[in-house]
Amino acid sequence: MKSFDIKPAILLKTILDILFFLLIVSYSGMILYLIYQTLTDVPLDLKVNGNEITELSPAIIFILAIKILISAIFIYIIYLLRKVVRSFFKRKLFTPLQITSLNLIGQLIIIFSLTEVLTDFFLSLSLNKARIGISVENSFDSIWFTLALGLFFILLSKSFRYATGLQEENELTV
């Protein structure tokens, strides 16, 4: 693979590092808190998406387990994004690592956002607070934008794959 003269994105890498560190710390904190709650008789005081949870039924335990799982998926998405940004530091473009990671990031973002919507809905349902409707938020946290972002990453990966082919062809011709 040919190497290019590109400037590394130091600011982006730093912010991603901070975000990754914060995520790891809060994830560990969350797990430790849940273990502490399970092992002691301290009354449960948990708030998920504005819903207060005071007792644990099997349905709520299941939903919380899914929430913990999708939080791990989110951390993995950030990890992959960091890996892609770091791979640009090696001054190589359109490598198989970048193509595979971008594709995986896209797929994971879609899985993450759909699962998040479903778990939020089922959590409200199990707390008898469910409302059915479509809401559109005014920002980049809206489910629609997140889905579009996932699709964009998949498309970007396809474009990178196409560019690799083009690059190899060019190198052969030269």
Binding site: D5, L19, N138, S139, F140, W144, L155, S159, L166, V174
Partner: protein
């Protein structure tokens, strides 16, 4: 030089669908907010902005105007995003348009996130929403995550620019 993205056509339709839905909802939202001076006792403002009722006060009017600007900015960035995706499907890769769109999209995301943060602080200070909402770190809701996305798009624009230069050079050599 066109990428062969035929299997990805459904993604394009899906993005168009998302764009249409968001436009419809934002139009309803903005019309609802614009109608509030005529119906001061309605619950629209309470539901959308957390303001109990409409009054001709600087703070309330400023909040309404900034909320409309945020929505329009969001629609515009979605429009740029949609155009970019269509261009990735239909036009040659690394075109000048794609480079500019990626940069614009990144800048828009960062700008809107900064405006939204100021908007949130302003709204909390003026209307005293003392309830802690918690840190939404495990989702695309997180401002740090949106900042990363903005920077990533700007960096991608830089990568596309480099790739375009290399492609042009290769074509000249051949």
């Amino acid at each position: 030089m066109k990428p062969s993205n035929k299997p990805l056509q459904p993604l394009k339709f899906f993005l168009n669908f998302i764009f249409m839905i968001v436009i419809i909802f934002v139009a309803i939202y903005i019309s609802g907010i614009l109608l509030t001076p005529f119906f001061p006792e309605s619950k629209i403002l309470a539901n959308f902005l957390g303001v109990p009722f409409f009054e001709w006060k600087f703070a309330i009017v400023a909040l309404i105007i900034s909320s409309i600007i945020l929505h329009l900015g969001f629609i515009y960035s979605l429009y740029v995003f949609k155009k970019l995706v269509v261009s990735l499907f239909d036009s040659p890769l690394f075109s000048h348009f794609q480079i500019l769109s990626l940069k614009l999209l990144g800048q828009l995301i960062i700008l809107l996130i900064i405006i939204k943060s100021i908007f949130d602080i302003f709204s909390n200070v003026v209307f005293g929403e003392t309830e802690l909402k918690g840190i939404h770190i495990f989702s695309f809701d997180s401002k740090l995550m949106a900042l990363c996305m903005g920077l990533f798009f700007i960096y991608l624009s830089y990568i596309f620019k480099k790739a375009k230069g290399i492609r042009d050079e290769n074509e000249l050599t051949v």
